[in-house]
Amino acid sequence: MKPRVLVVDDDTALAEMLGIVLRSEGFEPAFVADGARAIAAYRELRPDLILLDLMLPGMNGIDVCRAIRAESGVPIVMLTAKADTVDVVLGLESGADDYMVKPFKPKELVARIRTRLRRIEPEEAEELQIGGLAIDVPGHKVSRDDELIALTPLEFDLLVALARKPRQVFTRELLLEQVWGYRHAADTRLVNVHVQRLRSKIENDPERPEIVLTVRGVGYKAGPP
């Protein structure tokens, strides 16, 4: 079955062009032009990924993103015309997994969508332990003291990447490559924001993290098991 992508964009020409590109790459696109109708469309269609424009009539992209994130971990890639930090960080903090600054190359967009949809299921059971957390990799479950913690697929990938090599220090660039699928270095703010989001869910005290540690000037590493 073709992966379904919901395109939320009010610019009809861009939406149509996105549709052409997505179809030619083997996706099944659906369209909604109004922010206010995006959530209803999501509930109805249950797409595998959402391409969300930040500036929308009705309800802006950030609010749409927040609303969808509140009920689902579905991958959301934001399309933004603003590369300014405030906009990007605001978008990421509202729950978007990744963002594309217009004008982007179609191949790059497709590559990012593929990364977000990629689910390489390990053959055998893999269980990781880190800082009191139990991670069931094939089951996509994270729990502390038998209590499940809800993570988005991206946050889960990020945590697994760190937990698999507990001694290694990951630079932001390396994480971008492994988790986001960037070929060459991109915006490291992406990593910062998602690490903050991840910490807020898994750390006892996000101000003093024990699981995802910052290595100043370099990047991040996993804390002791």
Binding site: D11, A13, L14, M17, L18, I20, V21, S24, M55, L79, A81, K82, D84, T85, V101, K102, P103, F104, K105, P106, K107, D187, T188, R216, G217
Partner: protein, 555 residues
């Protein structure tokens, strides 16, 4: 002991400095001190004149009366002596005693007095004194005795023992010639009353003078407060305004000069703050405009871009003309996009309010990454691109994205203009700064280039074919990026000798000021050339002798 004196001296100096500072700083103190000082001087002069006048007139009245009295006394004594000599068996001594007694009792306008009559035999220096209260000759100064002896009437002031105390007295002496021989008649007037009167006047004058000084100093204090307080308020308000509190205003009371000062001050403050608000709004409008243009342009550009890419992907299926068109569309869109990106970037800089977003970054790694990324292009141009770090890993507070962009710009420019000659990238640091130089041995730069290299859309050679693309804004953006870090971006160059670009960034973040750069801007072997960039007043020709050590960065 010497130390103690020294310490005391130092203490005194300190005290004096404190007083002097207070004097310089307080207008009020100066006004009060000056008014009081001038008043004191005037009162001292007036008082002195007043007291002198009163004393003189008191004394002269006394003196006139005393002389008149004395002259009458002489006449009376002469008559008495004549009578005695005309009377056979007359006792001259009895007559003298009686006369003296009589003269002592006659009232005088000159106040109370004493009388001494002295009989002197020609050769006998031992005078015989006739007086009422057993006054002795020693109350009369010998100078006066001598003058009287020579036959004159004279007066003298003296301080003599009288009635058991020492008193200042006026003495009028006269010679009384007679057939019995020469006598001397002295009137002695104690000046106690006059002295009391003068002392009383002095006291009154001093007291009222002091009261006047205090009064005028008080008035001075009051008046100066009236003036100084609004001035102080103005100073305080101005300081608060300067500190950024644009709402601060002065209080206006009445309609006098100070009220006008306050009004003008407030007008100035209002105009200033409205200007600032206007500029801030302008900046905001500019930022919003940039952001809007960005959004409005980027959305259709995205569509065009995707469409062009689609066409480009299928170009092999097209006939010749549409195929080439699709290729050109695709290639030129890249240029269009980078130009748009640069335009938006520089207008963001222009709008101000950019956050640096610095984080500790390994400068050596950053430079190495940029150099490595350009090796392929360098090989294409036949340029040997090398990197030498004179320091090990170096964490610098900077925005990696911006500094990397600057380095990319410099290295690609050096490769492009290197004419196949080697390009050397060097990094060095000292305690306060890190510097990177990018040296090429290509066409070099002339005066115009040094002056305009960092200007927007300036091209070294209008006929030059730009192989590496670029919008013409790269250098201008680079300079802005470096200045955002509070750093320097400078260039040295000479036609035919290549160019040397130098970035200097402060270690420990942009709040530190640069004073020196660890690397020379003018290469060691060079003797002249042109300088440009920031900081530099104007680009200019330098000779090596002019700038033996240019690493202080002051071009």
């Amino acid at each position: 002991m010497a130390y103690y004196i020294g310490a005391a001296g130092a203490e005194f100096t300190l005290f004096r400095q404190r007083i002097l500072r207070r004097w310089r700083q307080s207008l009020q103190l100066r006004i009060v001190a000056l008014t009081a000082g001038i008043t004191l001087a005037v009162i001292a002069i007036v008082g002195y004149i007043l007291i002198t006048q009163i004393t003189t007139s008191l004394i002269s009245v006394k003196q006139r009366a005393a002389i008149a009295r004395s002259t009458q006394g002489v006449q009376y004594l002469q008559q008495q002596l004549q009578l005695v000599s005309g009377t056979p068996g007359g006792n001259i001594n009895a007559a003298l005693s009686a006369s003296t007694q009589y003269l002592s009792q006659v009232a005088s306008a000159a106040g109370i007095f004493r009388v001494i009559t002295v009989q002197r035999d020609g050769l006998d220096n031992n005078p015989r004194v006739i007086s009422v209260n057993s006054l002795q000759i020693d109350v009369i100064p010998t100078d006066l005795q001598r003058v009287i002896g020579n036959g004159k009437q004279a007066i003298a002031y003296a301080t003599v023992p009288l009635d058991g105390s020492t008193q200042t007295v006026l003495i009028v002496g006269s010679k009384v010639p007679s057939v019995q021989g020469d006598f001397e008649l002295y009137y002695i007037y104690p000046l106690k009353n006059e002295q009391d009167a003068v002392a009383s006047v002095q006291q009154t004058t001093t007291l009222s003078g002091l009261a006047l000084v205090v009064l005028i100093a008080g008035v001075g204090l009051l008046v100066s407060r009236l003036v100084v307080l609004p001035v102080r308020q103005a100073a305080q308000t101005a300081a608060q305004l300067a500190g950024g509190d644009l709402e601060q205003r002065m209080q206006i009371r009445g309609e006098d000069d100070l009220a006008r000062l306050a009004t003008s001050f407030n007008d100035m403050a209002a105009s200033l703050s409205s200007q600032i608000v206007r500029l801030e709004e302008l900046s905001k409008v500019q930022q919003r405009f940039t952001s809007d243009v960005s959004h409005e342009l980027r959305t259709p550009l995205t569509t065009v871009r995707m469409a062009a890419e689609m066409l480009h992907d299928y170009r092999e299926d097209f006939p010749e003309v549409p195929r080439r068109s699709a290729e050109l569309l695709y290639i030129e869109l890249d240029r269009f996009e980078s130009l748009l990106k640069d335009l938006l970037e520089i207008s963001r800089h222009d709008a101000g309010g950019l956050d640096l977003e610095a984080e500790p970054t390994d400068m050596v790694g950053l430079v190495k990454k940029v150099v490595d990324a350009h090796q392929a292009v360098a090989r294409e141009h036949g340029v040997r691109l090398s990197f030498a770090a004179l320091n090990g890993p170096l964490n610098v507070e900077l925005n990696g994205r911006r500094i990397e962009r600057v380095l990319r710009n410099l290295v690609s420019n050096a490769v492009e203009h290197g004419q196949g000659a080697p390009v050397e990238v060097t990094l060095a640091a000292n305690d306060t700064a890190v510097a990177v130089t990018v040296r090429d041995h290509g066409v070099g730069i002339n005066q115009a280039a040094a002056e305009h290299l960092f200007d927007r859309f300036w091209r070294a050679d209008p006929a030059r074919v730009r192989k590496l693309g670029g919008s013409g804004l790269g250098m201008a953006i680079s300079l802005k990026d470096v200045r955002l870090h509070n750093g320097w971006l400078q260039v040295w160059g000479r036609p035919g000798a290549g160019a040397n670009f130098r970035i200097t960034l402060p270690l420990g973040g942009p709040e530190n000021r640069l004073t020196t750069s660890p690397l020379n801007l003018i290469p060691r072997s060079e003797t002249g050339g042109w300088l440009g960039g920031h900081p530099a007043g104007r680009s200019r020709l330098v000779a090596r002798a002019d700038a033996p050590e240019d690493s202080d960065g002051q071009l």
